[in-house]
Symmetry: C2
Subunit: 210 residues, 2 copies
DNA sequence: TGATATTTGTTGCTTTTGCAACAGAAAAAG
DNA sequence: CTTTTTCTGTTGCAAAAGCAACAAATATCA
C-alpha cells in the first residue's frame, strides 16, 4: 500500500494535546497491553516489534499476530472471551501510540492534525491488517507442518522479491507463529533441506524449487 | 456492532447508477467470484451464505472464510499469490454487491446516496471483518482437534447467549473450516460426547461443562 | 415418489505430530 | 571476558491426526 508512506511521515512526529491520545515507550520483553473487553483501545506501533500472544490453560504459547512498524492492533479488533488471556509483548524496544476507537471519527476539541490524518488513513491501516490476517489464515489452514513452512516461505520470498530471505523470527517463535511443536518443525526443516527443497544458513532461507 | 443496522437498512434497497457498482444474484453452488490480483474488487453479501475456499495441489479443500449477510469480502483484502486458487462459492442463493476498492472514497459522479453511506460505514464493516478473522485465527492456532472444537463451540455459545446452539455448517464443512480431517473430527466429537462434555442432536450442540 | 447425490458415522492402519529430554551453539548480561 | 540465559538441533517414544473405505441415514432432484 503506497498510502502507508503518508502515515509513516505523519506518525513520526505527530503531536496531539488530547488526553485520549498517548505515546509510550517500552523496553524489550515488557507487556505493552493486555486485552480487556469494552475498553476499545487501538494502538499503532511506531517503532520496534511486538507479538500478540495467548497462553492457554496448558501453558502453551501461541503467537496470534506479529506486529512491526506502523501495524495497528488493539482490543477494538477483538471479541475478548473469558477463556484466554491475550497480551501484546515487546520483542524489541517499542514506541506505541494509544487511543480509543470511538475517538477516531470524532473530531477532537483541538481539531488537531493527528485526528484529521488518522481518520483519513484509518481504513488503509485496517485494510493492511486484513491482508495480514488473511495471509496468516492461509498458512494456518494448511494441513501439515511442511505445507505451512512452504506456504510461509513462499510469502516471504514473494515479499522480498527473491528466492533468498531472512526469517523475521527466531525458529522458536516461528514454531509458535505456525502453531506447531518446535521439535517437529525442526525435523521438517531438516527433511526439506535433505530433500533439496531449501537451503538454510541460520535464519537466511533460500528456496531451491521453482 | 450496532452500526451494522444502518448498513443493513440502506443496503436492502440501495440504488446507484454508477457503472462501477453492480448487484448480482447467484444460485446455490455457483461461483460468485475468483480472486485475481490487481482488480481490487470488493463485494458485500446482501443475502444468502457463501464460503471463500481454496483447493490446494492435493485437491484438499479449505474453507478460508465463511460469509453471511452483510459480510464484506473480495480480492482487495488479499495478497493473491500464484500458488493457490481462491474462489467464493454460494452455499445458498445469494445477492451480492460488487464494486472496486478505489471507488469507495472517490465521490462518484452522481454523488449518490450509496457512495455516501458506504464510505461512512466502510470502516465499521471492515472492523467487523477484522474481528471475525481474529476469531478464526484464535481457533486455528489451537493445537488439537479437541481444542479447536471446544474453542469454536465456546464462541458459538457466547454468540447465541446459550449453552445450546446450531452449527452454521454441515459437519463436513465444519471439518474444512477447522482445517482438519473429517473422520478425525468425528472421532473427537464422539469422544467429547462419550466423556460428557457435549450433547449433540444433528447439528444442535449443547455444552455440558461449566 | 423413486432415483441419485450428499452427509454422517465408524473403523483399521499409517503417517505425522507432539512431548520430554538433553547437548552444543549463540546471544545477552554483568 | 566470563557467566548465564536463550536458541538450535536432535532423538526415542507416545499420542494424535490423516487416509481409505464403506454402510447407513438424509437430503435433493427430476
Amino acid at each position: 500500500m503506497n498510502s502507508s508512506l503518508d502515515i509513516e511521515n505523519f506518525l513520526k512526529d505527530f503531536s496531539c494535546n488530547c488526553k485520549n491520545v498517548q505515546k509510550k515507550s517500552f523496553r524489550k520483553n515488557q507487556t505493552i497491553t493486555t486485552y480487556i473487553q469494552k475498553r476499545n483501545q487501538v494502538c499503532i506501533l511506531l517503532s520496534g516489534a511486538a507479538d500478540l500472544v495467548r497462553y492457554d490453560l496448558n501453558g502453551d504459547k501461541s503467537i496470534i499476530e506479529h506486529f512491526s512498524k506502523n501495524d495497528i492492533f488493539g482490543e477494538a479488533f477483538y471479541i475478548v472471551t473469558t477463556n484466554n488471556e491475550l497480551s501484546v509483548e515487546a520483542k524489541k524496544n517499542c514506541e506505541v501510540l494509544f487511543f480509543i476507537y470511538d475517538n477516531i471519527y470524532q473530531k477532537c476539541r483541538n481539531n488537531c492534525k493527528f485526528h484529521q490524518i488518522l481518520s483519513a488513513n484509518f481504513s488503509n491501516l485496517i485494510l493492511n491488517k486484513v491482508m495480514d490476517l488473511n495471509t496468516r489464515i492461509e498458512i494456518l489452514t494448511k494441513r501439515t507442518i511442511r505445507e505451512k513452512l512452504r506456504g510461509y516461505f513462499n510469502i516471504l520470498s514473494t515479499r522480498s522479491l527473491s528466492k533468498t530471505f531472512i526469517l523475521p523470527f527466531s525458529l522458536t517463535d516461528l514454531a509458535d507463529f505456525l502453531s506447531v511443536d518446535r521439535s517437529a518443525m525442526m525435523r521438517e526443516l531438516k527433511s526439506l533441506k535433505d530433500e533439496g527443497f531449501i537451503k538454510k544458513n541460520g535464519n537466511r532461507i533460500t528456496l531451491l524449487y521453482k
